[in-house]
Each structure stands twice: as structure tokens, then as C-alpha cells.
Symmetry: C2
């Protein structure tokens, strides 16, 4: 039997792209909250003896994790052969160490919950900083879709003489990969973080690239404080207004007005999280990674 | 070493009552949300080789379950011997069957999550309807504190000639137990539910108890539609305004004004969930059940 694809609201185009690659059937999942705040889940097509693929982004994870894990459990109880999760954004990757005694390393606990409920996981560019690979915390088959090619393509089409700029050391991996694909220079700034929203930035010499447009790239735009501080420092040094690119457009609270105030240039994000700044379509990269892992897991049996 | 007691906001008096019974130490837990909605948890006292008791009510469960399970995992990773949970209100007990094909039986999934993270569980009067005991779904030691005695005491002190009234068949267990303790008559109404908030009620003959004040008792006041409909039917039949008692004061949305509009009499609830209608103190019942199970689990080793 062909796989069933269940999409959470907003991910219908990605679900359709996966379905066409795995010859799957899009099937509705009914999700609602009872008045007391409990989550109700119903799979509208019974998955008996079929593979199930759940397509659910994990931004604002605490709101979603109960519904997602209830759906995965319901699929298994209703006879699904295998349950895969395609999460364009994967949460709880940033708390990857115990920085103070007694702290929860939430990335590990969260990974354990997911890995007990699902059989495989696909995401796009998870925040791998202290972990080098998802399998350090996820004991199930995983695959990572990369945004490097669609971002590089967008830069080639939209920026004449780009200088890729990573706003902090953690972003060096994205900056280097994308600059390599574009065939342009790249630098990385140095960030001092004093709190969730308080960030200072120092900039290396950029006079070596006159006439270049800085293209700031980060994996996650959350409060946008890091990118806003970087954009402001670049402008103080006389650069033209930078282009700001993010893979995952979390944009918490007043992040978008904050970034626009600091940087009047273009802001472009990938559509892993639906947002008004989405300009770079990564649907086919995620769908292909999902189809490939789905096929690989089939073959392994 | 004596046990560590971590209280979620609002449960400090219960935590203190447990601490005094188990010779425990109240220890703070730091809980907050990052701007992106992820939960941060830090145990401010390291629990190495100590028992840990978490005191966390589970009303609005999806908001709390991540923080609770992160705290339990952090305690274990920091060397706690055992982690117990005292949840004055236990969520996800009402979805106890698959009413439609493909539905998640969330009570079972939720119980599995909790039971993997904690070693024992104490709650007050969970909604046992199709399940007869918690151990049908919780594979860990559990204990149930009963509100029967404090509710009966409150009725004796506050209502002259009570007639205990259960608003529906599911409430017969509470109504019968409390009437038995008070030493007064009891009846149960018949409920037809047409939706989350749409309820019709039929009433048996109440003329057999002239001069009695109806005391409506239910375990959970959620939307209050059931209790409001029951109060209205009683008043149509000429009864004096009923007293309304609930064990767990969820009071979702406009539940309190709805109930007040239907029933001008006293509304009294137990303090398992903090609410302005709390009038019946059940702290010592829950604390004693927690101390007893804590001691029993110790002895079992």
C-alpha cells in the first residue's frame, strides 16, 4: 500500500511534493483543542499496514509536541508499519550542553521523546553547534536537507557582487558553504552575547572588498538581535546596506521591525517556517530528502 | 539525604506540607521560556543521590508537560535516586477510549510519557470513568488522594439540609461517597451531551426531599455547561438555588460567569487548581498521600 502523508497546517505544498515523490496519498489529520487545553487528534484515514509520513514544523515546539506525538502514537496503534517525521524546522537543538549545574539539556530529552514515537526524521539545516550530527542525539535514521544550493542560487540571481558575512562564529559553516557555491568571498564576525536579546558585534576589516554588497547569513533568525547588530556594525563601517538571509524565519516578538530598523536592505528567508520574508523556496530539497530516506528505510527491512 | 521538593508556581503551600511530612527540603526550580517558545529548566539544588518530588498541577497540560519532563530528566541526569510527581490535577484522563476510528487515545500516550520520566505519581481524584484504576494506564506506583472527607466536612459546616446531586451518571461515584460521609440523601441526573459545550439534563423527582438544599457535585468544572444545565433544571423544578461544588476548578473561558448566571448560590471548589472559588482546603490530604507513597516506595527497595 502507498504511504499516507499527514500535513500540519501551512505545510500542504511540502506534503504534496513529498507525496508526488513517494507515490503517497495526502490524508487529513483532525487536530483541535478541547476547552480545557487538552489536544484532540484523529487520523481521518486508517494507516493499517501502511507507512505514515507526518509533515510538521517544530517552531513554537511546546504548542505542537503533544499533538505530534499523539498522532504518531495513534498511527502505530492503528497498525501503521512505520511513522516518519518531516520537520522543516527542528526545535530544541540550541540547548546542547549543561552551561550551569542543574540545567536540563533539553535537546537530548526532546530527541528521546521524538525517537520513541517516530521511526525516521528529516529536517532542514538543524542548528548543529556542539553536536556535529543528529545521530549524536537521535537514535533513529535521520537525513538533513541542505539550503545551500537554493540560497546560493538566490544570491547569484539577486546580488551583483556579494560578500558573504556570517554574523558570528557559529554561522561560519553556512557562510563558507554558500560562498563556496556562489564563488565569492566570505568573512565571519565575532559576537559577544550578554543575554537572550543583548548582543555586541566586532567586525574584521571589510575594506578589502570595495563595491561588494554584504550578505549576512544565519541559520535561525529568532529575536534578530544578532543579525541587527551585525548589520548596524557593517553600516557604521561604511558598507552599503546588507542583504539579510535566514534559513529559519522564527522572528519572535518584535524581531522583524527591529531588523528592518537596523537594516533597510532586503531580508530573504527560506520557507521552512511560513513568514512574510520567505523568498527562497526549499520545498524540493526537503521533499527529496524525505523521499530518499523513506526509500532507504524501506530497503533496510 | 533528605528529599528535595520542587514546586511549580502556585503550589508552594502543598510543597511545604509535603516537606514537613517527609522531612524534605524545598528547593527552587528555574523555569522560563526563551523568546522562540522553547522551555528552559534548571534545578537550583543538585539532587545527587537524593529523592526528588516535583509538585506540578497538570491543568493546561500542553503548556506544562515539556517543562515538567525536562525537569524530571534533568533530576535523573544529575543523579537523583528517584523522581516522584505530585499533580493535584491529572490531565488527559477523559480521552479514555477510541470513540471514532483513527482517534488518539491520549490518556494512554500521556501516561506512557509521564511513566518514563517519573518513578511514582500522586494525584487527587482523577477522572476514572472507563478506567477503574490508574494502574490500568500508569505502570508505576500511584496513589490517589480523596477529596471526600474535606468536601463532606465543608457541606456539614455550610449546608443545613443537603441533598447531594450528581449532575450526570459519571458523577455518581463522588455523589454517593460524599452523601454517605455526610449522612444525607443523594440523586443523580441524566445528561445528554451534544458537543463540548452543548448539554441537556433530565431530573428525577425531587419532591421527596422538601426543604433540602441541592448540593451539585462534580469532579471537574471545565466549561461548567454540565453543572449550569443541572442547576437550571433544578431551579425550574422549584428547588432553592443549589450549592455547586467541584473538585477541580478548571473554569475554561466564560465558565464562571456562565455558572453564576445559571445558579446564584454558593460555588465552592477544592484548591487542587488555584481559583477564586477555592473554599475547600485539600492540602493535607494530598500531602499525606504523597508522604505515604514516598515512604512505601522507599521500603520497597
Amino acid at each position: 500500500m502507498n504511504p499516507l502523508i499527514h500535513s500540519w497546517p501551512g505545510h500542504e505544498p511540502l506534503a504534496a511534493a513529498i507525496a508526488s515523490r513517494v507515490h503517497g496519498e495526502i490524508a487529513p489529520v483532525s487536530l483541535r483543542r478541547f476547552p480545557d487545553g487538552e489536544t484532540y487528534v484523529r487520523l481521518m484515514t486508517l494507516p493499517k499496514d501502511r507507512d505514515v509520513i507526518l509533515v510538521c514544523g517544530l517552531e513554537q515546539p511546546d504548542d505542537k509536541v503533544c499533538g505530534l506525538l499523539f498522532a504518531a502514537d495513534a498511527a502505530r496503534e492503528c497498525g501503521a508499519r512505520r511513522v516518519g517525521l518531516v520537520a522543516p524546522y527542528l526545535a530544541y537543538m540550541r540547548q546542547d550542553a549543561r552551561f550551569n549545574a542543574g540545567e536540563a539539556i533539553t535537546s537530548r530529552t526532546f530527541a528521546r521523546w521524538l525517537a520513541r514515537a517516530i521511526d525516521w526524521l528529516v529536517t532542514m539545516d538543524p542548528h548543529l553547534h556542539r553536536y556535529r550530527a543528529l545521530d549524536e542525539i537521535y537514535p533513529i535514521p535521520t537525513a538533513i536537507a541542505s539550503s545551500t544550493t537554493p540560497i546560493a542560487r538566490w544570491i547569484v540571481e539577486n546580488v551583483a557582487q556579494p560578500l558573504i558575512v556570517g554574523p558570528d562564529e557559529e554561522s561560519a559553516q553556512w557562510a563558507a558553504a554558500i560562498a563556496g557555491r556562489v564563488g565569492c568571498p566570505w568573512i565571519v564576525l565575532h559576537k559577544d552575547r550578554h543575554g537572550d536579546r543583548d548582543v555586541a558585534v566586532s567586525v574584521p576589516d571589510i575594506t578589502a572588498w570595495p563595491g561588494h554588497t554584504p550578505v549576512l547569513i544565519d541559520d535561525i533568525i529568532s529575536t534578530a538581535r544578532t543579525m541587527a547588530a551585525a548589520a548596524q556594525r557593517l553600516r557604521q563601517l561604511g558598507a552599503v546596506p546588507p542583504v539579510c538571509i535566514g534559513v529559519h524565519a522564527l522572528f519572535c516578538g518584535d524581531a522583524l521591525p527591529t531588523l528592518r530598523a537596523a537594516s533597510p536592505g532586503v531580508i530573504a528567508t527560506c520557507n521552512t517556517i511560513r513568514h512574510q520574508t520567505n523568498a527562497i523556496d526549499v520545498t524540493s530539497e526537503i521533499a527529496q530528502a524525505a523521499a530518499d530516506l523513506h526509500a532507504r528505510v524501506q530497503t533496510a527491512l
